[in-house]
């Protein structure tokens, strides 16, 4: 087990380095003069040159690359061009906010979806099964920003049940923050329910097919207990897989939902960094999202390996 973890860790570090290189290449391919972007079009050429020299963009690309990689591993992302404060001061609070929302969304979605998946799997191909599957299919196909807009307009504006701006005022207790985060979390629930339900349904179906063969040879063990134990395990594995992959998306991809609720998570931070060409913030945020994705898939792999010894033993080819 330990060897497997170490191996995965090593490959994750390599991937991180590759990721940092890709990000570096991307942002340096963006046309434009950094000094000019920051100081504006009306600044004098000498001032622009001085600024460029000061922040080091006139150094050769290779030396900038090494500095950039070194800084990634020390989590030093420099200063924002737009607001001149440290990038970490901008992206970590945003990260925290995204995390809160993701956590709430998962807390609601996972139990419901797994339950629905198991429920549907046990009634495979009957009417209820088809209903669950197709409902899930339909709701997951609606773009997340649409669900968010509809929920916002009905729950928050019309019926005044939720808050139009999902950012709770500073100092609200954890419990007090729930009403604020609930509506955007619901939008995410609608989007992910279908997917997770179908995934866990698939896992359970697989498991059931095996279990019937197996339990036929088992005597003395309560069929129900065996089934329950196995069913949950079967439902869980694909769910973990899905969640680990989706986590990266939840931190960087739900820009639409964040925009609708004026929620300043990592997605909307990246969005404003893109529109204002604020390279350090963009670089830092993209790397952060990448790191989160890699960590979550690493953890998921380790957990699954823990559950299934066969995974650990196979070497990656």
């Amino acid at each position: 087990m330990g060897r497997y973890v170490l191996r995965r860790l090593a490959s994750a570090v390599v991937t991180l380095w590759v990721l940092a290189t890709i990000v570096f290449l991307m942002v340096n391919v963006i046309p434009g003069n950094v000094g000019r972007s920051v100081l504006g079009p009306f600044a004098l050429k000498e001032d622009v040159a001085r600024y460029n020299h000061q922040i080091g963009t006139d150094r050769p690309l290779i030396s900038q690359y090494f500095t950039s990689i070194r800084r990634v591993f020390t989590l030093d992302f420099g200063d924002s061009y737009k607001s001149q404060s440290a990038v970490t001061k901008i992206i970590f609070p945003a990260l925290f906010r995204s995390g809160k929302l993701a956590l709430l969304a998962f807390i609601i979605t996972i139990p419901i979806s797994i339950a629905a998946g198991i429920f549907a799997a046990r009634r495979q191909d009957k009417v209820t099964d088809r209903v669950v599957v197709n409902a899930g299919l339909a709701t997951s196909s609606i773009p997340d920003f649409v669900t968010a807009a509809v929920l916002m307009s009905f729950f928050c504006v019309h019926w005044k049940l939720g808050h139009v701006f999902a950012d709770p005022p500073s100092g609200t207790s954890v419990v007090g923050q729930l009403p604020y985060l609930l509506t955007p979390a619901l939008a995410l629930v609608v989007a992910y329910f279908g997917y997770i339900a179908r995934m866990s349904r698939a896992g359970v179906i697989n498991g059931l097919q095996a279990d019937y063969a197996r339990t036929a040879t088992m005597k003395g063990l309560s069929k129900g207990a065996v089934m329950r134990k196995h069913i949950l395990r079967n439902a869980l594995a694909p769910t973990i897989t899905v969640i680990s992959v989706q986590i990266g998306y939840l931190f960087g991809g739900i820009v639409g939902v964040e925009k609708v609720f004026n929620y300043h998570g990592l997605g909307s931070t990246m969005l404003s960094a893109v529109t204002s060409h604020d390279i350090p913030v963009l670089q830092g945020a993209v790397l952060l999202v990448g790191i989160i994705y890699m960590v979550s898939t690493l953890l998921a792999d380790v957990f699954i390996a823990f559950l299934n010894p066969r995974v650990r033993l196979e070497t990656s080819r």
Partner: protein
């Protein structure tokens, strides 16, 4: 039947959802292998295999055609394709016609304007119909390109293995960690708002996803007898990959393609919602939702609802088709 892999999700269904980029035999590149699909095929030699395969395919196709989900999906796609092709020739009003006199703005749905009018007085039904073109111009092509390159990449990784797989695998994983929408936005804001840029970026970011799927499928095949016999015959690697293995993994690839199309529609719509789509006054669906959304709190729901429903319908259609194909392939 062997003891099934409990923890290798053999999904009975695949679905495009936000961020869904996984047809999942495995979680990651360094995951587990997939049991073979059709034991029957593996036992046979090459020549016999071909005709059996063709027959199996025809049979599958017949089965797929008859599934209701497939029919519904294809029907929806056809409707939008017709709208895209014929464009403003069949729309009841011009999608770009302004009612400049100040009345005619934000009319609720009625007989003359079944979907109502927007804030500049344009007929929403016409704009939704015309908007099909913008989506169908970009999404299928992006998906196709992504699958094309993904297949090549996945083949190479799965077949050659060893260090090629490791090196490429790290690069693929790194790309998978990048946020698609933000990068597409970045590309558009620096390279311009052309559909080519969007297609290019989306295809580039789909390639690693497809590659991963193809790789796992290839991993399952490459130790099988027909591959070994082809190698013994002296065939080149390219031949083995694309003439021998590829047909056997075509099932998952087709499914992946349809899933990718759904996801491409999704991504493209979100991009134009965020302002990276075609320029105004284009009737692009995502742009329409973005324009209409600011009036939702004034009870003007139709300018948002109908384009959004259009987007959803196309994604659902893609998923229904993918679902049908997958079910049939699975069962066979």
């Amino acid at each position: 039947m062997s003891d099934s892999e409990e923890f290798v999700p053999q999904p009975a269904e695949i679905v495009s959802t936000p961020g869904a980029d996984v047809y999942m035999p495995n979680t990651t590149i360094s995951g587990t292998a997939v049991p073979p699909n059709t034991p029957a095929e593996i036992e046979l030699s090459g020549a016999v295999q071909v005709s059996e395969r063709q027959q199996a395919r025809r049979e599958n196709w017949r089965l797929i055609r008859r599934r209701p989900a497939f029919i519904v999906g294809v029907f929806i796609v056809l409707v939008w394709t017709v709208c895209a092709v014929l464009g403003d020739r069949i729309t009841p009003h011009s999608p770009l016609d302004f009612r400049v006199a100040g009345n005619g703005q934000h009319l609720s749905p009625r007989a003359s304007y079944p979907f109502g009018t927007d804030e500049q007085g344009r007929d929403v039904l016409s704009r939704v119909m015309a908007g099909a073109r913008d989506v169908l111009k970009v999404a299928p092509l992006a998906a196709l390109l992504g699958v094309f390159f993904g297949v090549i990449l996945g083949m190479v990784m799965g077949y050659f293995g060893r260090w090629i797989d490791n090196v490429l695998g790290r690069i693929v994983e790194a790309f998978l960690a990048l946020p698609v929408i933000l990068l597409a936005l970045l590309a558009v804001s620096t390279l311009g708002h052309s559909p080519t840029v969007v297609i290019g970026v989306v295809a580039a970011l789909f390639t690693p996803v497809v590659a991963r799927t193809v790789r796992s499928a290839v991993l399952a095949e490459r130790d099988l007898d027909y591959v070994t016999s082809a190698k013994l015959r002296g065939e080149s690697s390219a031949f083995v990959m694309f003439r021998e293995i590829l047909p056997n993994v075509s099932g998952p690839i087709i499914v992946e393609l349809t899933v990718r199309i759904g996801y491409a529609v999704f991504t493209v719509a979100t991009l134009s919602f965020l302002g990276a789509g075609p320029q105004p006054p284009s009737p692009d669906w995502g742009a329409q939702v973005s324009e209409g959304f600011r009036n939702i709190s004034a009870d003007i729901w139709w300018t948002t609802f109908f384009p959004a429903a259009a987007i959803a319908s196309l994604v659902i259609a893609a998923n229904l088709i993918a679902d049908s194909v997958q079910s049939v392939l699975e069962a066979s």
